[in-house]
Each structure stands twice: as C-alpha cells, then as structure tokens.
C-alpha cells in the first residue's frame, strides 16, 4: 500500500484540471462557398423528406415511390454504385453493370423506405459544413429523436457539379455507408464467384425488402 498523498496536491491538481476545461474554446473557421451551398442543400432535402413522411394521406406505395424519386434526384447513384463495386466494376460486362446499377438503386430505395417507415418525429439538425476541396464538402448534422437523450451523428459527403449538388456518401456515427457496402459486396462476390452472382444476391435482397414493405409486383 502507498501512503495517501498530500490533500493539497490533490486540490491543486483538481483546480488545474478545471482551469484547463474552462480554457478550451471552440475554434471558428471561415467557410468556403461550396460548404455553404452544400449545407443549404442538405437542409432543403431534410425539409422535403420530413414533409413527405408527415403527409399521412400517402399510402406506403406512393410514399416509397416519392422517396425513390427524391433519392434518385439527390444521390449520385451511379457514382456510388461504381465505388461500391470497386475493382470488380472494370471486369464486369456492360450488361452486368447495367443490371447491377438498377438493382443497387432499388436496394437503397427500399432499404431507406423501411428505415423511414418507423418515422416518429425525428428531426435533422444541420450543424455546419466544411469544404474538402473546391467542389466537395462534408455537411455535419445530427438526428434528434424525441424522448431520446443522445443524438445520432450523420455526416453527408456532397459534391457540386455544374452548380448542382449531389450526395456521394452518408456517414452515420463514423460509419460510411458506401465503404460498408463495398466490403459487404466484395465478400459476396468472393463467395459467389462473380458480379453475376452478386446481382443474383441483390435481386433476392430487393425482393425480400419489397415484401417486408408490403409492396407487391
């Protein structure tokens, strides 16, 4: 056993620690134009989505369709799909690629539709944005859930081309959706042997997601 140390030393240490906490000030940075634009872009999508989800006159089918349109307009689906396929994009045939991109589109839309199905008054609070380069920005936001103490941190990777913005990745609590899917798909291709095998797995998954949503045909 060690001898208990002098209480004054403890007291001084504690004071020093407190002083350090108080000294910490948030830093401010000058935002680039792309960051401001990207932030407004995400805010407007959030508003659009919430009003869509709050519209109780819509059936699941209509809502899914409208969400799909929203998604196709604002997400860079083809670029994301290509990134997710990684090195296999080059070896895939033209028809495999086409099938894949269409399946990927459905896969994401139906996946999201289900997530939004449990909508319970969540709100997206856009907190700020920072530019990565001249036409790429990361928008920081958080999902505020009513009755919950902790918020979910969501970062959006947004790119500007010819004056219009598109989402290239969604990062939830540090986990990139595109990166996770890339790993997932690589493992599936390894098991099934080819991109055609991946497309088969995707098709089954999409059918399953549709069924869970109660959509037919």
């Amino acid at each position: 056993m060690t001898r208990p140390c002098c209480p004054r030393v403890v007291l001084i240490t504690v004071f020093a620690l407190f002083a350090l906490i108080l000294a910490a000030q948030p830093s401010t940075a000058v935002a680039a134009p792309v960051a401001a634009g990207a932030q407004d872009f995400i805010q407007s999508i959030a508003n659009e989505t919430v009003s869509l989800l709050q519209d109780e006159s819509l059936q699941t089918e209509q809502r899914t369709e409208r969400l799909g349109r929203l998604f196709n307009r604002h997400f860079a689906v083809e670029e994301i799909a290509q990134f997710v396929l990684g090195r296999h994009w080059r070896t895939a045939s033209e028809s495999e690629r086409e099938t894949y991109v269409e399946l990927f589109r459905d896969f994401i839309v139906f996946g999201y539709a289900q997530r939004f199905g449990d909508f319970a008054g969540e709100r997206l609070r856009v907190r700020g944005a920072s530019a990565v380069d001249d036409n790429t920005a990361i928008v920081n936001s958080e999902i505020v859930r009513p009755g919950q103490q902790s918020n979910v941190r969501v970062d959006w990777r947004v790119m500007e081309t010819n004056g219009s913005f598109q989402i290239h990745d969604v990062v939830v609590e540090g986990v990139s959706m595109a990166q996770t899917q890339r790993s997932d798909f690589a493992a599936t291709i390894r098991q099934r042997g080819s991109v055609a095998g991946l497309n088969q797995a995707l098709q089954q998954k999409v059918a399953q997601l549709r069924q869970q949503l109660g959509l037919t045909g």
């Binding site: 504690v14 620690l17 940075a29 960051a35 700020g128 103490q149 540090g174 996770t180 997601l209």
Partner: protein
C-alpha cells in the same frame, strides 16, 4: 493473490488452445492471394485484414445464436418493457461506475482536459446525482465521453492487428481485446480488487457479475435498431459488420486525439 492470478492465466491458456484447435478444425486461415498474380485481390486481402475469417465466422455464428436466444430478448425487454426512468437510472449508474476506467485512460492518453471532465462528472454525479443514478453533470455542461485501454494503446501508436471475433464479446482485434482485459482487471477498481484479493467477498463477486450482465444488456439495447438495420440491408452480415465495427472504432479513436471543436459555422449572407 498469486494463486488466483495463476488460475486466470491457466484458463486464458485453455482458451488459447481452444482457439487454435477450432482454427485447425475449420480449415485454418483464409487463402492469401499472390501479390504478383493479382495485386488488386492482394490489396483487398490486406485491407480486409481477416486471416482468421473461417474461425471468426464460426464464433460469429455462435454469438448470433447466443444473441438471438438470450441477449437480444433481454435487451428488448429492457428497452421496451421496463419503465424508462428505471432504465435511464441503470444506464447512468453503470456509466458512473465506469468513470475510474475513463479517467485513467484519459490521463494515459495525455488528455488532462478530458480527465478533468470525467473527474468533474464523477464527483457531481456521485453526490448530486445520488450515486450516479441521475446524470446531473451533463446538464451542468460536462458532457460524457468514453475511453478505454484499447483506445489508449491506439493513441500510443499500436495498430489494431487482424480482425478477431471473441466468444460472447463480439467483434474485436488483439489490441482491443488486451485493452478490455486491462480495463476490467487493472484500471477498474472493483475489478482490480476482485482479482487482487485472494478470496474476494461473495457480495463483491455477485455485484461484479450482475454489473457485467446488466452492462451487456444495456449496451445491446442501444444498438437494437442499428444492428437490425445493418442485417436487413446487407448481403453478407458478417462482412458488413466487420467493416462497420472497424470504421466506428477508428472514428472513436480519432475522436480522442481531436481537440474540442464544434463544426465550423457557415455564415450565409
């Protein structure tokens, strides 16, 4: 004291033998592609960093079964049936009990600012928060953060090593597995007393076991939706989880090396 530590070492060795045997039975390591023949496949192999995949998948299936049969039902009961004020109190108390571990790791990471927050939180919540049931410190502006020894090792520059799925404990890696061991037996005062005393008090043992069990259920209850969602929207849940856990862990480690800054505010003209 030496005796009880020895027994622990022996049981650790038994676990190691079991791991090696299971690996041999399940076909050993994942096949490594030739870097000259297929450099891209090799790069992917290095990035996935899961040479024990066949073994890990077996443990993963075991954990999934354990989760389906016991842990998840308990977590759902905890989240949906028990009254929220009760579970909030339990959650806060468990968090408060972790304070010494967080404090030591903050200090070991060279973060007196974070250590100060942890210390302030512990003092305020233990007194004003009635033994930690109420998280009064957050309302006073001392927000909670996590820290563990795996993270500390990372801050010290140690790499994570290959992916490792631990029985019951889930996705991990050698560095974080060691971290977990150090946190629960050295940095946690109650855990330390439990192994350092040759004949620990039965009450203490019971307390430690219940605390571990409750901690597992509380933690699981917070990721029910996230894990369900990942499983639903992935083709190979094992691979998707491996990637997600790694990314989340990396982001957690980065967070501890960052200074406190809020995202840059955007000024709209």
């Amino acid at each position: 004291m030496v005796d009880s530590m020895l027994r622990r070492v022996v049981s650790l060795r038994a676990l190691a033998i079991l791991v090696v045997m299971a690996t041999l039975v399940t076909g050993g390591c994942a096949t490594r592609p030739d870097p000259r023949e297929d450099p891209e496949a090799y790069a992917e192999y290095v990035e996935i960093n899961d040479p024990l995949e066949p073994f890990n998948r077996v443990v993963f299936e075991f954990n999934q079964a354990f989760d389906t049969m016991l842990l998840k039902p308990l977590a759902i009961f905890y989240r949906d049936i028990l009254p929220p004020p009760l579970t909030r109190g339990i959650h806060n108390t468990l968090n408060n009990l972790r304070s010494p571990v967080i404090l030591f790791n903050d200090l070991l990471q060279g973060r007196p600012d974070r250590a100060g927050t942890t210390l302030a939180r512990f003092m305020v919540n233990t007194t004003l928060g009635v033994g930690g049931v109420h998280d009064a410190a957050t309302n006073l502006g001392w927000e909670r953060h996590e820290a563990d020894f795996g993270q500390t090792l990372a801050v010290w520059g140690l790499g994570e090593g290959p992916y490792l799925v631990l029985p019951f404990l889930g996705p991990s890696n050698p560095r974080d597995a060691v971290g977990l061991g150090v946190d629960s037996t050295v940095l946690d005062p109650l855990g330390f007393i439990n192994i350092a005393v040759s004949d620990p008090d039965t009450a203490l043992k019971v307390f430690n076991y219940s605390r571990t069990g409750t901690y597992a259920v509380d933690r699981r209850s917070r990721v029910i939706d996230a894990l369900d969602d990942l499983e639903r929207t992935s083709l190979d849940f094992y691979a998707a989880l491996r990637s997600a856990v790694r990314q989340s862990r990396r982001s957690f480690i980065e967070e501890s090396t960052r200074t406190f800054t809020s995202p840059a505010p955007v000024t709209t003209p």
